[in-house]
């Protein structure tokens, strides 16, 4: 009855590229670095929800952290939570919401660990007011492969603090962190969704709602002509009227099989987008909703990435600075629309001015676009290369956590500080992303 001896494979959320590594779960902080053989290349990974290869290491050892899931302390007066770095945002919400506290920053999925959220310095629908996740992490501990413990904060070891936030997990193992939660009086979100056509209308809506806590737009990357760049702009705020804090039991659906490649043809995507756009009849709609569907609509279907079939999917996310105006974004959208590879999930959002403490952090003020593509041999890669080129031309940058094919030249142009920052990388740590974009070990 011994389980099969097949070599374990760890996949990122995009399921591309397919790489092999030994997977070693960490159960206690002291499991690292004591149990690691000298000379082994390693990388600590959480839930593997980044899309490309920042959480992969070909022929190395992946130390998985989700068993480092213990809470350490919580101050119910200030909302400061200290926990081990493998605790997921879902676990924090389960703990904090009934006590009247909420995450300071929520990405599109709650199934990510605190360590992963720091390493990729994630952002959410409130970036324009709250900045990145790292801005809400007053302290954390970094464990280096030589056993050194480095407690990091803006005042203690500030250079390590800055190198590790957004440091793609390469500076060592994040073992615990402090997270500043924000108070809420209800699970409910007061939202408003507005249809728009064109980037100018999107920007006008963004400006008009700049004071709202959450704002994001879904954009149709298939429609052409007079419907070009149509979408739905969603904004929301925590309801200030006291309401329910305890969760409603909900079943979770799991996509049990990989869908065949043809399931995502441009016809089905086009039809979905048209339906989605017209689902909302009125130009403007307002209401109250639970925070779960507002923040994590896709978490309702666990493993939705299987929709893209065995080959997986490619994500693209870039930010273009304000200086490039809407011209760069128009060119990106035109290239995507013309390629007919557009996806269901294209998201447009304005990044605010809050500066992350992270040296390698992705967000800069401007407009960010995120969407995914099926892996279709050369076509998808050609398109992504073209999008990277437009991004570079307009002085923007791409997001490593969502990338599987950025060229070394582009990475080094997007993050000119990379070489200086690399001094903070733990000598035992690496990732396939890092090897790909720098050619280093």
């Amino acid at each position: 009855m011994s389980p099969s001896q097949a070599r374990p494979q760890f996949e990122s959320w995009g399921r591309f590229p397919k790489l092999f590594a030994e997977v070693r779960p960490l159960f206690w902080k002291e499991d690292f670095p004591a149990s690691i053989a000298a000379g082994t290349k390693i990388l600590a990974v959480g839930m593997g929800r980044s899309y490309g290869d920042v959480c992969l290491l070909q022929h190395g050892t992946l130390l998985t952290t989700p068993n480092l899931d213990r809470l350490i302390s919580f101050d119910s007066g200030t909302g400061l939570l200290r926990c081990e770095a493998g605790v997921t945002l879902a676990e924090i919400l389960d703990f904090a919401v009934p006590r009247g506290w909420f995450l300071p920053v929520s990405p599109g999925t709650k199934y990510v660990t605190v360590g992963g959220a720091i390493a990729n310095d994630i952002h959410g629908k409130n970036h324009h007011v709250a900045g990145t996740f790292g801005l809400h992490i007053p302290r954390f501990e970094l464990v280096r492969s030589d056993g050194t413990l480095v407690v990091c904060s803006p005042t203690e070891n500030p250079e390590w603090y800055a190198a590790t936030i957004g440091g793609m997990g390469l500076t060592g193992l994040i073992s615990w962190a402090e997270l500043q939660l924000r108070p809420i009086v209800s699970r409910r979100i007061r939202y408003r969704s507005t249809k728009f056509v064109g980037l100018d209308e999107f920007l006008a809506l963004s400006q008009a709602s700049a004071h709202k806590e959450y704002a994001v737009a879904w954009i149709d990357c298939v429609a052409q002509g007079r419907n070009f760049a149509r979408g739905i702009f969603m904004q929301g705020e925590h309801d200030e009227n006291p309401g329910p804090l305890t969760p409603l039991a909900k079943p979770k659906l799991t996509l049990p099989v990989d869908l065949p490649e043809f399931a995502l043809s441009r016809f089905s995507v086009g039809a979905f987008n048209t339906l989605y756009y017209h689902k909302q009849m009125a130009k403007d709609r307002t209401g109250l909703t639970d925070y779960e569907p507002f923040f994590y609509p896709l978490d309702f279907v666990l493993q939705w990435n299987r929709m893209y079939g065995k080959q997986g999917l490619l994500q693209f996310q870039c930010v273009l600075p304000w200086e490039s105006g809407t011209m760069g974004m128009t060119q990106l959208l035109e290239a995507i629309t013309a390629s007919r590879l557009g996806s269901f999930l294209a998201v447009l959002k304005v990044f605010g001015d809050a500066v992350s403490p992270g040296v390698m952090s992705f967000p800069v003020p401007g407009i960010t676009l995120a969407l995914d593509f099926p892996v279709r041999r050369e076509v998808s890669f050609d398109l992504l290369d073209r999008l990277a080129g437009i991004t570079a031309d307009f002085g923007g940058r791409m997001y490593p956590a969502k990338d599987a094919c950025m060229s070394p030249a582009h990475f080094q142009q997007f993050y000119p500080q990379w070489e200086q920052w690399a001094a903070y990388i733990d000598p035992a740590f690496s990732s396939s992303f890092w090897q790909r974009v720098t050619g280093r070990a």
Partner: protein, 253 residues
């Protein structure tokens, strides 16, 4: 009956409190009415578990650092637990080792050490606790055994024998003290993703510690005698037990 109370068990003793299944069970129990006494060998780990439970809202957490192999120290620790908790509603015995089967085949001392940890030390705890619960006329004694105790297999029969012996002991103890209102629960998990199994690749039969914890709490509330966890192991082991030895001895499992 206090056992049907949704707040039951409010005073909980856990032996081997840093095992993954114990942690998952404790976490599900962490609530403002609960007082825990946790026993384990590693002080740092024990502190981490205690902090986690207190942060999640447990009323109080007492800890006791000891190696449960040291059976002579059991009575002192158990008496202290009974005193600190005031009464014991639930005692969960969760410590154990998988051991090295190959080493145990070659060296009796290795085999004896596995039997000591998994069986003899549990017998020592159960003797004291069985009498305590009998005098208390109530409470639940939940013991983590294994499906491996249902049949001896060449890949882990020393471990299997320790758990098989434990199953028989618990069956007899239940027969003796059930009539005094004491609930004796034999928990038989299948494959669980814990440090004990971290060295083998995980297949679809593997359950998470939290799934097992959920099953343990359900079995406690339903006063089950034996719980296979997850449930499908009952059917798998029914099949495995039904294979005649003349075939079984030729199989590779």
């Amino acid at each position: 009956m206090p056992d049907r109370d949704p707040l039951f068990p409010s005073r909980v003793l856990v032996l081997g409190a840093t095992s993954s299944i114990a942690i998952a069970t404790l976490r599900r129990l962490a609530a403002p009415n609960r007082h825990f006494m946790l026993v384990a060998r590693n002080g740092d780990r024990l502190t981490a578990v205690a902090q986690d439970l207190l942060t999640r809202g447990a009323l109080a957490v007492d800890t006791w650092i000891m190696d449960l192999d040291d059976t002579t120290a059991h009575p002192e620790m158990l008496a202290s637990a009974a005193e600190r908790l005031g009464r014991i509603d639930l005692a969960l015995i969760a410590h154990g080792v998988l051991g090295d089967q190959h080493a145990a085949e070659a060296d009796f001392e290795v085999a004896a050490a596995i039997l000591h940890t998994n069986f003899i030390s549990a017998v020592s705890l159960l003797t004291w606790l069985g009498n305590y619960f009998q005098a208390q006329r109530g409470g639940t004694l939940a013991v983590i055994s294994s499906v491996a105790g249902d049949r001896g297999r060449k890949s882990n029969y020393v471990y299997g024998a320790s758990k098989g012996a434990l199953n028989v002991f618990l069956e007899g103890l239940r027969n003796r003290i059930d009539r005094d209102g004491v609930h004796v629960l034999t928990i038989k998990p299948g494959f669980v993703a814990t440090p004990m199994t971290a060295h083998v690749p995980h297949n679809a039969l593997f359950a998470s510690p939290d799934q097992i914890a959920q099953g343990i709490l359900k079995a406690i509330h339903r006063r089950r005698d034996v719980a296979y966890l997850p449930w499908f192991w009952f059917w798998i082991m029914l099949l495995v037990r039904s294979i005649p030895n003349r075939f079984f001895k030729k199989m590779n499992m």
